[in-house]
């Protein structure tokens, strides 16, 4: 596969017109057509329907477009980086959904700081809805979100890790002596339900809970005064004085994804941030 073939195809996706695409790419129409034919040969099928004056993408063309866009973005990223660096102060704005610790991305931030010495770095923490809005409005560059199956299509997303569940309780609770907490044991407890679980909560239990908290911190404060046991996602930081134990039977409760708005090019610091975190393994044990 060659870069120019993919560029021509993407120009065709945008213009849906062979003449205009060839002009946009500064090549003759026959050259563009030949390149598309080679690409179709490699991909194993037609990418466009040509009907008289109408050109449309085939299902294969539509399916391949986002992947090919990602590849061109990756191929062109570095040639933009050097030029950008000379021109301006790199800026990176990253959001983390409530409960996700910045420690997850701290390594990548340190490396970006080293690589882009004048980097301005803004971190924010918020609920998912306002974070998504901020991304879509172009006020945040990338965010770590929970994949609740409802993320807008305009967001590219890459799975970073699955999170299990931990039981958090105060010292002196019987769970202190267990290495992990069983679902059966939880059934006998007063559980503080955190609203951040969303649909995943039904995997734990479907009873009504009289104790509900809007944030993970609130849930922990309730646990701290003995109101009950809080069930928190694995990576939420535990308040001082409280203890935590895994709940293995709950399995993987939610997927944490890295998200950015789909676009033609990422600025270099953002490209570096996304690449570093996609390249990295977050799970404790990764199957080969």
């Amino acid at each position: 596969m060659e870069l120019h073939q993919v560029r021509y195809f993407l120009a065709l996706c945008r213009t849906l017109n062979f003449t205009r695409a060839a002009e946009a790419c500064n090549v003759t129409q026959p050259a563009l057509t030949r390149a598309i034919q080679r690409l179709e040969d490699e991909l194993g099928g037609p990418l466009l329907y040509r009907e008289r004056s109408l050109t449309q993408l085939t299902p294969l063309g539509r399916a391949m477009m986002p992947h090919l866009e990602a590849m061109v973005r990756s191929a062109e990223a570095v040639s933009h980086a050097a030029a950008e660096l000379r021109r301006q102060t790199p800026l990176l704005r990253v959001g983390l959904v409530d409960g996700l610790s910045a420690s997850l991305i701290a390594g990548s931030l340190a490396e970006l700081e080293r690589r882009f010495p004048r980097l301005e770095l803004h971190l924010q923490s918020d609920d998912q809805k306002p974070l998504i809005e901020s991304l879509l409005q172009g006020e945040t560059d990338a965010a770590l979100l929970i994949d609740d199956g409802d993320l807008p299509e305009r967001l590219d997303r890459w799975k970073l890790l699955h999170e299990g569940c931990r039981a958090v309780f105060r010292q002196g609770h019987a769970f202190e002596h267990e290495a992990c907490v069983k679902l059966l044991a939880l059934a006998a407890e007063t559980v503080v339900r955190g609203d951040g679980w969303g649909g995943a909560w039904t995997r734990l239990c479907d009873e009504k809970h009289r104790l509900r908290a809007a944030s993970w911190d609130q849930a922990q404060h309730m646990a701290a005064v003995g109101l009950g046991v809080a069930l928190l996602p694995q990576h939420v930081a535990v308040l001082p004085g409280l203890l935590a134990r895994p709940v293995p039977e709950a399995g993987d409760m939610r997927a944490v994804v890295l998200a950015a708005v789909n676009g033609r090019m990422y600025p270099p610091a953002l490209d570096g941030f996304l690449k570093l975190n996609r390249a990295k393994g977050f799970a404790a044990a990764l199957a080969a």
């Binding site: 490699e42 391949m64 590849m71 690589r115 570093l276």
Partner: protein, 213 residues
């Protein structure tokens, strides 16, 4: 045993399965028919610049590497490929010779999600494994191809989910090309074969690096 011997032995083992063998032969034939290597970047060209994550979470550029000396870069397909595994191990063994020749080594993988680090640990590697996220470098070099049937299904049946491993659903793999690059970024030697079971002997890479100081 040379790397060639080990690769031959592995190929013989795999080829004992007639389905694998038929798939392998069809794939190599298809890549030849497509004229795949005609389009790839070859000796005489300039290796494209890059800024890629390493297995240990650094961003590494081509300039960083070339500042230290001439470079041999090898594209690998992934942790699932036994031929890549043999190649990575053989290159690790030859690393003292590569360094003695004044050169250095880097491997480029399309696999994300910690697999670069996993493969580094698995083989005890002392050279960089860089992650070509979304295959941008591969595309710039013209060494990536959309995996044709029947190979694509064969890989999937073996439990290898390329989309998951690469974080990209494009269904691409690199040809395991090796480039030897001088300090100015000029490619002085390339080794590539559409037959993914064939790799250059490390001694050939060492030879190409010698005298490039």
């Amino acid at each position: 045993m040379t790397l060639h011997d080990k690769l031959d032995a592995q190929r013989d083992r795999s080829a004992a399965n007639p389905v694998w063998r038929a798939t392998y032969e069809a794939t190599v034939a298809e890549l030849r028919r497509m004229g795949f290597l005609d389009q790839a970047l070859r000796a005489g060209g300039r290796f494209p610049d890059f800024l890629l994550p390493s297995a240990d979470e650094r961003l590494v550029s081509l300039s960083d590497l070339l500042a230290r000396g001439p470079l041999a870069v090898t594209f690998i397909r992934g942790q699932w490929c036994p031929y890549c595994a043999l190649t990575l191990a053989a290159l690790e063994e030859s690393l003292p010779d590569i360094h003695a020749a004044g050169g250095q080594l880097a491997a480029i993988t399309p696999e994300t999600g910690g697999r670069a680090l996993a493969v580094t640990r698995q083989h005890g590697l002392h050279y960089d494994v860089l992650v070509d996220v979304d295959s941008g470098v591969g595309l710039n070099c013209g060494v990536v191809f959309h995996v044709p049937e029947p190979y694509r299904s064969s890989i999937a049946r073996a439990g290898v989910d390329l989309a998951d491993r690469q974080g990209n659903g494009g269904g691409l793999l690199p040809v395991p090309a090796v480039y030897v690059i001088d300090r100015t970024g000029l490619i002085v030697r390339d080794f590539m074969d559409v037959d993914f079971t064939r790799r250059p002997e490390p001694a050939e890479i060492v030879q190409a690096l010698r005298g490039l100081r």
